[in-house]
Symmetry: C2
Subunit: 252 residues, 2 copies
C-alpha cells in the first residue's frame, strides 16, 4: 500500500519502521516540525513535508499519529475527499475524523522513539465507518501481524483505560519502589528479576489469582510496619494504604 | 553443604530445587503438615519430618522458610546449639533467631509452588551475626548464583517494602486492568505485549524517566474522561484519581 504518515512522534516512528518492513511504501511523512519530519523521513527513506497543501493525493491510506488535542483541531480538508483517513489514538472516537471514509488503527503499546519495538507482538485494534473499509483495514493490519481485532470506539475507550492501569500505573509503582531504594542506596536493578517474574506470571495465571503479599494475606503486622517505615513520606504512605486496602478487600 | 529445610511452602520448594541443582544435600524437609513435607521431600529425594525432635543434628546450615508469624513463635531449641540457623524472610529482623550463629538468606522473588523460577537470576540478600558466618553464607549463596548482596536487617526492611510496590502493587494494577476489560468482554491476554514492554523498558531507563500516559502529560481531558468512565466503580476511580495526581505531581 501507499501510505502517508501524519505525525513523526513515538508511535509514528515505530509504525513507519514496521510498515516499511512489511513492504508498504511511505510516500510522505508530515509534521509541522521540520526537524521531526526530516528525521523520520530520512530514517525510512521517505520525503518530509511540513505544509498540508504539499500532501500527496496518491496514498491508499492516510494515518494520523498526533496528540489527542491536535486530532480535534486538525484541518482534514487537506486529504483527498474519497481517501481513507485513520487515526491511531486509543481514547479518541473514530468520528473525530469528518471524512466519509474514516477509521481507527490503534496499536496498543507504549512507544519511544529511542526503542523500536517488535510490532509483530502488538495487538492492533481497528474500526472503520463501513464494512468495506473495515475489511480493508483488517487486511492492511494483517500484513504487519496476526493480532488484529475489531473494536468499537466505545469499547476502545475502556481498552485504553485498562492500558493506563497496566502501563502508566505499573510504571509509577516501579518509580515509587525506585525512590524507596534510592533513599537506602540500593540500585533499582536488584528489582528487575522480580519485575520480570511478576510480568511473566500473568501470562499463565490471571492477575487476580496471581496476587501475593501482605495485603492479600491480611498480614496486618507487616502492613502496619510498612506504613510506619513510610511515616516521613506521606505520598508513598497514602498509596500503600489505599492499594493494600483494595487488595485485602479483593473487590474491584 | 548438608542442609535441613524447615518449611515446605512456595519459597522452600523453589529453594530446595535450586540447592539440589547446585550440588548440596538436603538432609531433611521439615513441615508440621505431613503432606507438604512429603510432597517436597519426594520431589527432591530427601526425607520428610514432622516433629522437631526428629531434626537431624548433622546439617551445616538450617534454613527456615515459614510465615513471618511462625518465625516469632518457633521453638529454636530444636537446633543444635552451635549450628548456623538462617531465615528467608524479607521483613523480619535477623535477631528473631535466638541462636548464637544466626543469619538471613533472603532471595528476593515472588514464588509459587507451581512455577519453579530460575534461581540464577534472583538476587540473594544475606546477613549474619558474625563476619565468619557472613563469609560462610556469602560462599554458600555464591554456589547458587552471583547476585549476592550483604544487607542489614534495617535496610532489608526497606528493600522488602520496595518489593511490595514492584510486585504486589504492580500485580494489583494488572488485576484492575483485567476487571475493566472483563466488563467489556476483552481478554486480558491482549495486554500482555504492553505488560512485557513496560517491564522491559525499566531494564534500560529509570522508571521515573520511563513514565508515560495522560497524568504525566497533564492531559486533563483524558483524565476527566477516564474518571467519568469509572463512575460506577468508585474503587477503581479512587485509585485512578490518586495515582494520576501523584504521577502529575512527580514528587515521591
Amino acid at each position: 500500500m501507499k501510505v502517508v504518515l501524519v505525525g513523526a512522534g513515538n508511535l509514528a516512528t515505530n509504525l513507519a519502521v514496521a510498515l516499511q518492513q512489511s513492504g508498504h511504501t511511505i510516500l510522505q511523512v508530515f509534521s509541522r516540525t521540520r526537524q521531526s519530519a526530516e528525521l523520520l523521513a530520512e530514517r525510512i527513506g521517505s520525503s518530509a513535508v511540513t505544509a498540508l497543501n504539499q500532501l500527496s493525493q496518491e496514498a491508499d491510506i492516510y494515518i494520523i499519529s498526533i496528540t489527542d488535542a491536535a486530532l480535534s483541531s486538525f484541518d482534514y480538508t487537506a486529504f483527498p475527499t474519497h481517501s481513507l483517513v485513520v487515526h491511531t489514538a486509543g481514547s479518541i472516537p473514530m468520528d473525530v475524523i469528518p471524512m466519509e471514509r474514516r477509521g481507527v488503527f490503534y496499536p496498543m503499546q507504549t512507544f519511544s522513539r529511542q526503542r523500536i519495538v517488535d510490532f509483530s507482538q502488538i495487538p492492533i485494534f481497528i474500526e472503520a465507518a463501513t464494512e468495506e473499509d473495515t475489511q480493508f483495514l483488517t487486511d492492511f493490519a494483517l500484513t504487519i501481524n496476526n493480532k488484529v481485532y475489531r473494536l468499537s470506539s466505545a469499547d476502545r475507550l475502556y481498552l485504553h483505560l485498562a492500558a493506563v492501569y497496566c502501563s502508566n500505573f505499573v510504571n509509577h509503582c516501579y518509580a515509587m519502589s525506585e525512590e524507596i531504594l534510592r533513599q537506602h542506596n540500593i540500585p533499582f536493578s536488584v528489582m528487575l528479576p522480580l519485575v520480570d517474574e511478576v510480568a511473566a506470571k500473568v501470562h499463565q495465571v490471571s492477575p487476580r489469582e496471581a496476587q501475593t503479599g501482605p495485603a492479600i494475606r491480611h498480614d496486618e503486622n507487616v502492613i502496619r510496619h510498612h506504613l510506619s517505615l513510610l511515616e516521613d513520606q506521606p505520598r508513598l504512605q497514602e498509596i500503600y494504604e489505599i492499594l493494600s486496602k483494595h487488595i485485602a478487600n479483593d473487590k474491584l
